[in-house]
Symmetry: C2
Subunit: 103 residues, 2 copies
Amino acid sequence: MLTSVDAELMRVLADPLRLRIVTLLARETLCTTHLVEETGAKQTNLSNHMKVLREAGVVETEPCGRFVYYRLRPAILDALAGSLGELAATARETVETGRKRAC
Amino acid sequence: MLTSVDAELMRVLADPLRLRIVTLLARETLCTTHLVEETGAKQTNLSNHMKVLREAGVVETEPCGRFVYYRLRPAILDALAGSLGELAATARETVETGRKRAC
DNA sequence: CTGTCACATCAGCCGATGCTGATACCAGCA
DNA sequence: TGCTGGTATCAGCATCGGCTGATGTGACAG
């Protein structure tokens, strides 16, 4: 396998609310106010999740007056999708050829 | 978006040890004994994780005498990689066209 | 300067989950 | 029928992480 799947990135994206946020941001760049409207979550909670996403490199921020826009970084998602695809391809070959270790 | 990313499946795969197990199983079908050797984890712990992976549909079991082989189900990983790829593609288009909601 | 609004930070609670030792189950073998 | 070895289950513990209310910060309007 060339690239390995990033467990930390998986963990960050595995939370239901964060995944919802990422899905919303995939369609259009939004700021916290919009995300509060869309998700119904508290501003505090949302801010915490945005921090996690920011520190994981999933989103980047763009200040705009008092507002802060959150923009997704597609390369991160591409890389994850790619490494998972590789894993799936490897698994498929293993299953189809019946490769197994004797015990 | 056609398919949405499965948060539960992400959660299952987000654990470091489980991801390690899945990566090992992608190369060759193994039984618990091998996984204990490879990961150094306790048999009890490993058995718990295998139950989680089994219930999530990530692996399927094949009894072989007193042993139990665990085989990955590639379709599950393919689907996840695919939906993540779609998400990434959507995000890329959003970023490149500068699509954002006014606040 | 003062008030308001958008957002971030902090401390605390609490439920979820990973890890472990003890134990049960089950297949093969003598 | 016992014994051994591979695996599953159970109860308890400890930690992690998400949610919340209170509070801080920084920018705009009047």
